[in-house]
Point group: C2
Chain length 426, copies 2
Amino acid sequence: MALLGCGVVGSQVVRLMREQSGDLAARIGAPLELAGVAVRRLGRKRDADVEQGLLTTDAEALVSRDDVDIVIEVIGGIEPARSLITTALRGGKSVVTANKALLAEDGSALYAAARQGGGDLYFEASVAGAIPLLRPLRESLSGDHVHRVLGIVNGTTNYILDKMDSTGASFTDALEEAQALGYAEADPTADVEGFDAAAKAAILAGLAFHSRVTAADVHREGITEITAADVASAKAMGYVIKLLAICARADDGRTVGVRVHPAMIPRSHPLAGVRDAYNAVFVEARSAGELMFYGKGAGGAPTASAVLGDLVAVARNRLTGARGPEESTYADLAVHPMGDTVTRYHVALDVADKPGVLARVAEIFAKHDVSIQTVRQEGHGDDAQLVLVSHRAADAALSATVSSLRELDIVRAVASVMRVEGDESS
Amino acid sequence: MALLGCGVVGSQVVRLMREQSGDLAARIGAPLELAGVAVRRLGRKRDADVEQGLLTTDAEALVSRDDVDIVIEVIGGIEPARSLITTALRGGKSVVTANKALLAEDGSALYAAARQGGGDLYFEASVAGAIPLLRPLRESLSGDHVHRVLGIVNGTTNYILDKMDSTGASFTDALEEAQALGYAEADPTADVEGFDAAAKAAILAGLAFHSRVTAADVHREGITEITAADVASAKAMGYVIKLLAICARADDGRTVGVRVHPAMIPRSHPLAGVRDAYNAVFVEARSAGELMFYGKGAGGAPTASAVLGDLVAVARNRLTGARGPEESTYADLAVHPMGDTVTRYHVALDVADKPGVLARVAEIFAKHDVSIQTVRQEGHGDDAQLVLVSHRAADAALSATVSSLRELDIVRAVASVMRVEGDESS
């Protein structure tokens, strides 16, 4: 086998393969042999103890070698990962990858290359790190009908939001702390803007609904605009703000919605207790009911655990002449736009403190056919604020309601708008 | 395929196979055909709409038919399930079973029959109902090193203990309520005496540690002797009593302990929040860290979901000529006796209320080399009680300590003895 990339995850893969070589050989039925490790630069110091002779900068040659039958890709990003994986798969090799971005952009092309070559494509490590989630969705639940997948799939943003919630820190301060501790990268865009979670949501939705879903289908909002005031206000109401990935069938079952955005959830909800950089995902299925999976969603060793689990599976498959599951898109459900998704909004309005304000605000909600579940006035005079929580309605109607509120003369400002999830009382 | 048993689970299997026939065919790549359903009596009214022509009382003939390639066994119990499954497997058929008792008693013989016939043996439904737990252990974590599996795997006892905790009911009253609601059977022995959980613990331990573990290896204690006073006293201390299944490597990694017994866990522990008849299992692995799986551990539809997931897998395997994982016992770890397991005890003693009592009690602990973590005196005079929590020690030493305490003249009675888990501070 060959390893592409020897960074945080790759080093752990090498270390664990060495430490557990006896166990892995017993579980597979044959020893694993590392034929080469493709890296960008040869000289760099690495955590893993890799013989210089195994290192190469020519990844393209490595994945084409006849003595390589399995390729592990942990470089990440679109290129050169896409070309390398495609070459390997077309050449009949099996591929284990942790590359969520590539799978979410172009998973179908990879599956097609695997089918052409006759090898396997496994990617448990691409979503929720060490948590076994894709295999349960692809296999354990293949006799069931999944309604919804909802969870926290990005550890970095969960760490930041958890810090903001527990210490009252601003987004910027919490991000800096996450960066200092290695939870966030120097360029945190992929995490804080929700790109990472959106890629994972696309992968989860594709597997859960047996349909083709790409990152471009996912409605995506990040957490950069969440203020300490938003967090404090949620806290005061018994809620906590989390970045959620939600893949759900529409009520008629004919389309699915796939979205990533911050949302307020009740503190009594199990996802509210997911701290630090942990991940947790609920899967709701017709017969199985509600299932939850919880664990470390990132990090070198946890991700390597998922990679090695896949490695054992594809190695066994090669020995026995078997193949793992192929792409399953027979249901071919369309992804509906965010506007059609049914959600609930929490809206805080800075308003003029005078009689008739609530009537005018309520009229706007009614005009858009949105019912109000709760309303509360806070403060007086220049500090007067109306806090409203809607009943369930189409996101487009809720969004239009907020636009109309902005234009109302008695509304000085829309202080915050946040969706509410996990509180099914309405 | 053939179905053995058409009770609570079997009826749901038939119903779901019918309702989801299109989806199942698409996922497998070929339609499923039900060749026959073996039942004890033909005339009985059933939940499932099974044509009379499919029903038979001759299960032995059904599992030997040439047009049957997959057998689903949901009869339960040792015989006739064992003979039927063995005949089916030796005849080259694949078997999906939910039969924890049989697997825990004689799983190796079934694996051997599967190997002989060349078919598959799948049993996800045998542990924790709909929760995908065995496939993750057998496959997703096959590149990792599991330290411990700990959880609530019996819904009936969890329902009873939860009721006792939330309402103050006695064991007998809570059991009656569970029976009235269908959570407990008329003869509740298998659940309340821990046999069901012990069988599941044996299956989990075998998979987690790649060793042969049978029900006879499992230390088993039920919940019948837990009193309302025990529950109230645990509650007062911030604990809740749960029936736990614990499979853990010894500190030196060379043996494993497998046990089922009630234990006090802190109310802040995630397992404390597992209510009603739900199940939840923690898996702790070297690289993956701590994982949790949560969901419905029993019931017709959830169990049928797990059965159908396995059915899709074995049907796919037959179509592609593949075989699922075989028995993996290469590690061949011995199961150590309960006395060698390191635990902690909570002990409440009715004592004489006079000076020097604590000194004499402490002396007994010291004699057995057990340290005391906390001690508290409650009440006075004839109601005086000493409540002690030990540090970690060998269960044999803790048990011997309690025996010595019973003989002490100043101890009027040992009011309660309970192990403490999930509080790793000591």
